[in-house]
Symmetry: T
Subunit: 77 residues, 12 copies
């Protein structure tokens, strides 16, 4: 019986002019550029802005979790 | 330092036989037919009805916010 | 596959000196006087005022949903 | 024992460049320009925008309740 | 005035490697294989797992409601 | 000091054309037809449908808890 | 401009073998036996116990608010 | 390793004709008149009444926590 | 059919330097010193303070319910 | 790109006279007696009963998720 | 149609001995010292500590959102 | 009257094969390896994974708050 890995969750908002789905994927892709060991995401809010009678930006707030390796500074996301 | 614009939020439910995305877009488009100055939306609920073993209507409840101009009656959405 | 009807939800508080049930029914009846195509209701809050050691008004906040016809102004509830 | 008044709740967002307090007051004052019989308000969300290292707009979402007189159209806020 | 039908709600999580939309549809389709009289669904949670810098599984938790016929055992979903 | 009984909670929606109260009682009575050892209920949602200017069905979603005996299959409600 | 009255809210659970309505009324009546200046109540939870295939006790948790007079000890409800 | 102090939380609603801030401060000051060892507060609700087109009472519901000394009756707030 | 017992719920925060479990038990034991007829508890919040790189106090907020006998003052917890 | 597994979530309440931890473990162990492919759990509520001045039963409500194999009846938990 | 900017939300708690308003402003000002492109804030919790019969620190928890430029490490707030 | 310290809250998930308690402690200990001035924690979610008929990992999501010194970059956790 032992303590396992620690994970950190950062909150990101992805945006897309096309769809809610693309806003989710964009935020995850952006996180993946600089964070290793991404593990899961949770959708926390779906909203957006409207212009010209249609949504121009879909905005999805995500919690994105990743494993923190033992040598890493958790204050560094 | 001053008071800024007032916004009103109406609650609409869009429906689509195709997708959650289209239900969102449909509600916004419908709002745009008669409301000026639409500004943002917030997804509040995603649900739907099932018929014949599949969703036949996706229903998305949205709060839709718009700026109320100074001469307008806020009791008029 | 197509976009379906749009529904609007208005928030009303019914009140009754008799019961929670009557407060619900009163709000729906009041809505029906001026809104066509009422479709469903959701109870959002049950509260009331007390006078003389008993509830004198039961107050029930409802979301009441109705179908918006194509020619109607959604800014008109 | 009888059915009492019906109240309607509209959702407004007040904004102020000065304070949360002023954003609340501004939304109520705006509602009062066109709605009679205003009765109570409920704060539902406090947020705002940031520019130049400080909040430039405080935005407060309020539910504002008012009594609907018997002859009025509840679809008219 | 009478008691109407009773409905049961089961909680399922659909998963898809493609989209949130497909995860919803997959869970409903799976429910339809063994449950009759499916009536509605409610989205309760949207999350997923990440692998290789992108979501590999979108996971949507749904409440799925169906009518329970009079002769049926409600302990049988 | 020991592990005690396990309880299972099923989610049912009762409906009544008469009252919220009857919708609650109907769902419990329906559960009692096929589930033994019913122990408690929790009201999770009160809503309904409207037809002809009045509620035609009151719908109450309940969590209904019951003790699972040691020989029983918890996958059987 | 001045500070107004302070109100205290106590949480009580009323119970009735007959109905949700009676459980609400019973809790208020009980509060009124020893608390002066009762002002309002808020329903926070509706649940109950089941025996013999029917609800034997409806239990409603209420917040009950009352004005605290200036000479009173707020630690005394 | 030991059990520490126990704290009690009472729920008060402060009111002010001037501001949300003053309603908070008023409720704390009122609590301090008769409760020793006040430790923290949590804002739970901000609402108010409207008269003459403006808020006449701001009402803030607070949980107020205080340490219960060993000889005290926790049933005495 | 009759009105049953009334219960009161007080909110206490137990604290322990050892564990969440002990903080729960400590709050209940403290309540039992001066309150008769304790009946149930509900965990509402788990938090704590950190000192020297570890939790020094686990703090658990509980609602603790007890039956109010007919002769008692409910304003006395 | 394809639809993945479907999971079902059942709601169980475990109980223990010893600890919150044991109540969690007991509910999972009980589920494991008759459900295959258990995958995860979510704690939804922690409460309990009090007798003789101490908790006599800790009760933890869990959502327990498991994979539904393709040949299985999801109406069978 | 394209993916738009990604935003990150950090959670800060501002504190002030003077007012809730100043605690909000202080947290935003502190964030602005080291974070570029601050865009919006959301109030998540208002609480504080009490000493000498009055609030000595007002504490406001904010989510503060800012745009992440393309070359930046999102693990760096 | 002055602005006080700013605190930052990071969200971590601790895991343990032994207990919920150990998962909490592990996450705090991990945070303490690289973050100074840790001040408090809040439990936000308790869940876990199941393998072989028992929980193999208890996972607890915590908000962990710490004071940000004046010279520090808040974008560095």
């Amino acid at each position: 019986m032992a303590i396992g890995s620690t994970y950190k969750v950062v909150e990101l908002v992805g945006s897309s002019s096309e769809s809610v789905q693309q806003a989710i994927d964009g935020a995850i892709a952006r996180a993946a550029q600089t964070i290793r060991n991404l593990d899961w995401f949770e959708v926390r809010e779906i909203r957006g802005t409207i212009d010209g009678g249609a949504a121009n930006w879909y905005q999805v707030k995500l919690g994105i979790g990743f494993r923190v390796d033992s040598g890493e500074d958790v204050s560094q996301d």
